[in-house]
């Protein structure tokens, strides 16, 4: 089990600073592993599917498929930044996760109000219904997790 002192932010910050040199930050352990794993699965699924769609039927809906590819790549960015111990990884994660949340909300809403634009499925249409609404839930969980590990922001 982790030795993280739960109630001292100073000690946590000190530990986070130390860990920037080598050991992994606490956001990559415990429950963080599950979150990163789900991000990785989603990144893989969305990217592979988008590549397949672009290769096999790009002409049918170029916007939707390019959007799917971009969202897949953002999931990859989030996967790696969440698991990275590098100095700016926390901030990169915040950006990636926030873009995902904005994307799923905007595209999800648009796919309901303007279904003709999103006749072809993308990861975010219907608030991610094609992926069990994981694209909607995951960024919220991710933001909460980043907030819980906010001491790593400046590590």
């Amino acid at each position: 089990m982790s030795q993280k002192p739960r109630n001292s932010r100073i000690l946590q910050a000190a530990e986070a600073k130390k860990s920037a040199a080598g050991p992994k930050p606490s956001r990559t352990t415990g429950l963080g592993r599950v979150i990163i794993a789900v991000y990785g699965i989603l990144a893989l699924a969305a990217t592979v599917r988008a590549v397949y769609q672009i290769v096999s039927k790009f002409d049918e809906a170029p916007e939707a498929y390019v959007l799917s590819l971009i969202s897949g790549l953002i999931y990859f960015v989030a996967t790696f930044s969440l698991s990275s111990a590098k100095p700016h990884a926390w901030l990169v994660s915040l950006w990636a996760v926030s873009i995902e949340l904005a994307g799923v909300l905007v595209v999800g809403t648009l796919s309901l109000t303007h279904p003709e634009i999103f006749a072809h499925p993308s990861v975010w249409s219907g608030f991610g219904e094609g992926y069990g609404y994981i694209p909607l839930v995951l960024p919220i969980v991710g933001l909460w997790w980043l907030y819980r590990n906010r001491s790593e922001r400046h590590s």
Binding site: M1, G30, G32, R33, V34, A37, L44
Partner: protein
């Protein structure tokens, strides 16, 4: 068709048992449970057998109903997940390693379901 349905039922059972064991292990263990790890190995072995069977059938001239590229895309994606979950679970001793294994089994089942849809 019947053979693949048999495969699907077998795969669903393997994934379901692996998922159940991993969920229970998440609840009661504070380290990666041996049986949860065996579950990941079992799903991987099943996928390999499924892939070989699918390759033999397609080589024998029985094409899938959907797009074969899509089918094999799903297959390869499914195939690389259990090993990643396995080695990742082994590399950290916490209850959440079991949850990662559970997620892997669940996704394997979804992939299998999609492959079966493409097949028929």
């Amino acid at each position: 068709m019947i053979v693949m349905n048999g495969f699907f039922i077998a795969g669903a059972i393997v994934c379901a048992v692996a998922l159940l064991v991993a969920v229970i292990a998440t609840a009661i263990r504070r380290h990666p449970d041996d049986w949860a790890l065996v579950g990941a190995i079992a799903t991987e072995v099943f996928l390999i057998v499924y892939g070989i069977a699918a390759a033999i059938r397609q080589a024998g001239g029985k094409a899938v109903a959907g797009d074969p590229i899509e089918f094999w895309g799903y297959f390869i994606t499914a195939l690389i997940m259990p090993p990643i979950a396995f080695f990742w679970a082994v590399s950290e001793k916490s209850r959440w390693s079991n949850a990662v294994l559970a997620a892997s089994s669940l996704v394997t089942f979804v992939m299998l379901f999609r492959m079966e849809q493409i097949w028929q």
